[in-house]
């Protein structure tokens, strides 16, 4: 009867040393099985990534220029908007969110804040919005 089998059925008859030996054995086995299982998953994910991305990399290379053009267009559009129009739009938005009239708000200065949100946060936010639609 191995220590582990003994531990399973008759722990009361085991000495302290046997108990310690048995539980160390269980620990080593348990930890290694957990690591092996997760190592399997690690390999599986890595292989999956290679297989899917090996095939998709060519596609993405072709698609890359499209979003770049789109962002440039957007930027240009923003530039062509006249300042007064921008002031009117922002004033109306603030008034609507504060439930007040545009007459109570005076816009003195509009400064564009720099975009410092990391890309993953923006992606996460985008996903959130998409999932609510």
């Amino acid at each position: 009867m191995t220590l582990l089998e003994k531990m399973k059925v008759s722990i009361d008859q085991m000495t302290m040393a046997e108990k310690l030996g048995g539980s160390l054995q269980a620990t080593v086995m348990g930890v290694s099985i957990v690591f092996v299982a997760l190592m399997f998953l690690f390999l599986a994910i890595t292989i999956m990534e290679k297989m899917l991305y090996g095939a998709e990399q060519k596609k993405t290379k072709k698609e890359v220029p499209v979003p770049v053009e789109a962002t440039i267009e957007e930027a240009e559009e923003e530039d062509t908007t006249s300042d007064t129009e921008l002031v009117a739009v922002i004033t109306a938005a603030i008034a609507a969110s504060l439930h007040t009239s545009t007459h109570n708000i005076v816009v003195r200065n509009i400064v564009r804040t720099s975009e410092n949100t990391p890309a993953w946060a923006r992606a996460g936010r985008g996903e959130q919005v998409q999932s609510r639609l």
Partner: protein, 412 residues
């Protein structure tokens, strides 16, 4: 008249209350205060604490077993049935003995809810909901997180050894060690199967530690890392395609269940829930799993687990031992996660992994990941670790289910 009043008085709880029951009611009220007043894991603690309160009210009978009798089918054949029951022959056992089982008084309500735990139904259902709510994206994007999820399970086995040396049986020690996985449903499942008499203290310990993650983990994390390490910024995670997210749960189910069949109920349900979410074609099922179903099961599981904490079984020295061992399990798990993360960081050149995400390898989704994020932001407010910590965090869920499977196959 006085006689009637006296008899009525004897049937009330007031006449039958014991100091143990009062203590337990006090504990229940403290837990309710922590849940409602302090906002610690209210979704779990409120049902558990209330179940505890109900079961310790004397004469309430919510956890009573039903009174079931065996009766002869017809009064005329009573003698015959008695004889047959007394000396059943192989023939009779095959043909059947003419008697029926008749429930005279049904058992307590929570006793029936509790069957769901005893038979191992509720914990996997909770995992179904958890799976439907979990995004494995960060883990797929950074599969190295899996090792952090594995390291954090060391706490389970460390505590297992401690419990054995303190005189618990192997089955009890397994159930106690699992607290270190910081995974309520897993702890309940293992305890219900291997040491159901300890369900009350183990459930209370497991859920209290999950609620206390933001208090227990930070000092351990701070002690084991340097300021520079806490300030490490990690590389942005790549985008994970839908295809990968769909293949992942199927792959995990097959790989883990083949290696460790005992872990199949937990891993299978977790990944099934995730597949419902990621496949995008079973939207209704996924919504049910992550809302109505998990809510219903949480109510039934919480109330009945709380109800298993009856004064006679709870107010014992073993409860204190379990609570202490659970804390050790949890602390060791968090520490080993951080240590392995430090080690991996060194191996990878010293600037790739922020060791703070290692402690998220104990499950407790998503609190443990949030703690990593807050600790990182204390050093550098513009450092975002949350998504990186979600990787080890969900790996921890898989890891603790695997560890549970190991213990089940070794000692059950």
């Amino acid at each position: 008249m006085l006689d009637v009043v006296m008899k009525f008085w004897e049937t009330t709880g007031y006449a039958n209350i014991t100091w143990q029951a009062l203590v337990m009611m006090g504990v229940a009220c403290v837990l309710l205060y922590l849940a409602i007043g302090k906002g610690f894991e209210p979704l779990l603690l409120v049902p558990i604490a209330f179940g505890m309160l109900l079961t310790n009210l004397p004469q309430s009978g919510v956890m009573e077993l039903g009174h079931t009798v065996l009766r002869a089918l017809t009064p005329g054949t009573v003698g015959e049935t008695v004889q047959m029951l007394a000396e059943p022959t192989a023939e009779m056992l095959r043909e059947g003995i003419p008697a029926q089982i008749y429930t005279e008084t049904p058992g307590g309500l929570l006793q029936y809810f509790y069957r769901g735990n005893q038979l191992g139904i509720f914990p996997p259902l909770i995992f179904l909901g958890v799976g439907a709510m979990t995004d494995f994206g960060p883990l797929i994007a950074n599969p190295k997180s899996l090792f952090l999820g594995a390291a954090a399970q060391l706490g389970i086995f460390f505590t297992f050894t401690g419990a054995i040396l303190m005189g618990f049986t192997a089955q009890e020690s397994s159930a106690i060690g699992i607290i270190g996985g910081a995974d309520g449903p897993t702890a309940i499942l293992i305890t219900a199967i291997m040491a159901s008499h300890l369900l009350g203290p183990i459930a209370v310990a497991a859920y209290s530690y999950m609620a206390l993650v933001p208090i227990i983990q930070p000092p351990i994390m701070k002690a084991l890392t340097t300021k520079e390490e806490r300030m490490i910024r990690m590389k942005q995670l790549r985008n994970v395609s839908k295809k990968e997210k769909i293949i992942f749960p199927i792959l995990v189910t097959i790989l883990v269940s083949l290696l460790l069949p005992a872990a199949t109920p937990l891993i299978g349900m977790l990944m099934f829930g995730n597949l419902l979410k990621e496949s995008l074609v079973t939207d209704r099922l996924s919504k049910t799993a992550q809302n109505e179903l998990i809510n219903i099961v949480t109510i039934l599981l919480g109330l009945s687990v709380g109800a298993s904490a009856r004064a006679e079984e709870f107010l014992q020295i073993t409860t204190i031992q379990i609570i202490v061992l659970g804390m050790v399990a949890f602390a060791v798990g968090s520490a080993t996660g951080v240590i392995l993360a430090k080690f991996m960081n060194k191996l990878m050149g010293g600037n790739a992994i922020n060791p703070l995400i290692g402690s998220a390898g104990v499950s407790a989704v998503p609190m443990a990941a949030r703690v990593s994020q807050t600790m990182g932001q204390k050093e550098d407010p513009t450092n975002f670790l949350l998504m990186h910590a979600m990787g080890p965090n969900v790996a921890g869920v898989i890891g603790s289910a695997v560890a549970a499977g190991v213990l089940l196959s070794l000692f059950n």
